[in-house]
Point group: C2
Chain length 342, copies 2
């Protein structure tokens, strides 16, 4: 047990890459839960591309984090003190968006109500922040609902070795699709092909992506699960089939941009190929989480889906670790371990 | 009856604006229909933004017109000679894509089979090239199928006084939507508001479109019927609601562009607002034409939909007239009258 609560505070909105001083780690007194509340000791913090969006004042899907506020982030933790009958000490919970801090006051109701988790046999605790968390749900609903894969179709996944990408590709394989990854290193390409069963993977830093896609997708691209944007999306759009679906999940290539970023130069191809581009945020699917959890738990337990995590120890390293997302340095789900697993 | 067949031949692919010499008007002998064929005297030629696409070698939804070939275009004509029992002299037909020429050899089957038309009482012949033709069908299926308007929603229509735009806005009004047009002159704005019943219209050449949209769409934009692209689309994307639908029908602002054109700078808003952008080409809906014809004929006959045409006399003026689309000089459906109405 810690006696204080460390918190990462957003001090100013980053311009371009996050700089020292944009966020500050402060030490505050440990919060005390009131009646009906409970105290959660955060064990894991999820680091996601969207964190960078929340730091900015760009048009976004939630209010940005306020200057002076604790940085927003998903956490997984354990109830340490409870003043609510439904939550017991030792319960594993996702306390809404727990924030970049050691402790979160959990709520039992409202939009940020804490979700109690039941550990399944053989499933590591980290999976609840990855394949069984918002990350896996993003992959699942994005691919299944927006992408609507059919057996035999060709699916391209950008940031293929990233948290969401690795899951998307494996689900698409389960659904009988031909799956092509895009990743930034040979090691990542090897990982998704040899360990996850992708049909092929293109190292986008080493090749002309459009030509490479044409070669490995001789029948064209039916579904693009887009995490990157920029030139990657343009290369994909050059190779889409009639009625292709672009699952617009993320545009990480431009979250650090200063000033306006042009949309894809091959935008007209959306028209010519009667393609559908659909933006997608997992928050819209929370009411269907049970459906996803049941399916994903089964896939994990049978080994049909593998879930790689990339863990950095220590809340104090959160800002540095987040940078890995923007330098393509992570493989799998990026997590901060704030405290030891119970 | 003419004794020769004038044809506009594509001589070279235009770079930027169409230049003299890109197309050439030649005079050839009148074609003779073989057994099973018939000769159609073209009366009206449809001029459409897509004509410019067909002249180019950009990625497109049909093969481009070949160099040396007759320019492709939709026509409406009358059977002058028939060697097919199903087509009689005097029949009004749409002979596939009849081309920029006086005469077309009509086919009775295949993808370019001639469609026989039955004149409805009180409906001018031009309507079969406009509200009752591909133009009206584009408006109808694009709005209804891709846009899926619900009463009370806000619909924005770019190129509002253009061929498709004028019909889209009127259908949206019939469906109980609030309809905002975007047009290039005060006269066009007056036309769509006062004569067609749009709720408002923004002269996009005279104002900051995004601010103007924010003002006239206080509840945001639910549907955008996009004919323009470029800065117009960007202004729309700044003002879209959650789950907005962008019916991507045309991108006329960039058909004359030399070199790559960036996509919308507010592309990220498609993600943030979980919007859907869907490309749409009327050729995919030909099998549902009867449904459209029945509905549109009723709307025209009851006066619920008005159909303005902008007619230029003389096949020899086709190239000059086409330019009106790119200089925003037309109001309503642009047609060339090749021959007198029968």
């Amino acid at each position: 047990m810690r006696s204080t609560n460390r918190q990462w505070i957003l001090r100013k909105r980053p311009t371009g890459d996050i700089q020292p001083g944009d966020l500050e780690l402060v030490e505050r007194s440990k919060p005390v839960p009131k009646k009906g509340e409970f105290l959660v000791r955060n064990v894991y913090l999820s680091l996601d591309p969207t964190n960078r969006i929340w730091m900015s004042d760009m048009e976004q899907y939630m209010p940005p984090v306020g200057i002076g506020d604790v940085m927003r982030g998903g956490t997984l933790g354990m109830v340490e003190i409870s003043n609510h009958p439904d939550y017991e000490v030792g319960d594993l919970v996702v306390p809404g968006l727990g924030g970049w801090q050691d402790y979160t006051i959990g709520a039992a109701s409202g939009p940020m109500a804490a979700r109690k988790l039941t550990r399944l046999p053989g499933i590591p605790m980290t999976a609840y922040m990855s394949a069984l968390g918002f990350t896996g749900a993003t992959a699942y609903f994005g691919l299944m609902d927006i992408g609507q894969p059919k057996a035999g179709e060709t699916v391209v996944v950008s940031a293929a070795a990233g948290a969401v990408g690795q899951i998307v590709g494996q689900i698409a394989r389960i659904k009988g699709c031909r799956v092509i990854g895009l990743a930034s290193t040979e090691a990542k390409c090897n990982y998704v092909v040899k360990e996850l069963g992708f049909n092929a993977c293109i190292n986008y830093k080493q090749t002309d992506v459009s030509k490479a896609l044409k070669k490995v997708c001789p029948k064209g691209i039916d579904i693009d699960f887009e995490n990157a944007g920029g030139r990657i999306l343009d290369a994909v759009l050059e190779n889409i089939n009639l009625h292709a679906r672009i699952v617009l999940c993320g545009l990480i290539s431009q979250y650090n941009a200063e000033g306006p970023v042009p949309g894809p130069y091959n935008f007209t191809n959306i028209l010519m190929k009667r393609a559908r581009v659909e933006g997608f945020i997992i928050l819209d699917y929370v009411h269907r989480f049970d459906e996803f959890m049941a399916q994903m738990a089964q896939w994990l337990m049978t080994g049909q889906v593998k879930d790689r995590v990339d863990i950095t120890e220590g809340l104090e390293n959160a800002v540095d670790a987040l940078q890995k997302l923007f330098t393509s340095a992570n493989t799998g789900k990026l997590l901060i371990q704030i405290a030891e697993e119970p």
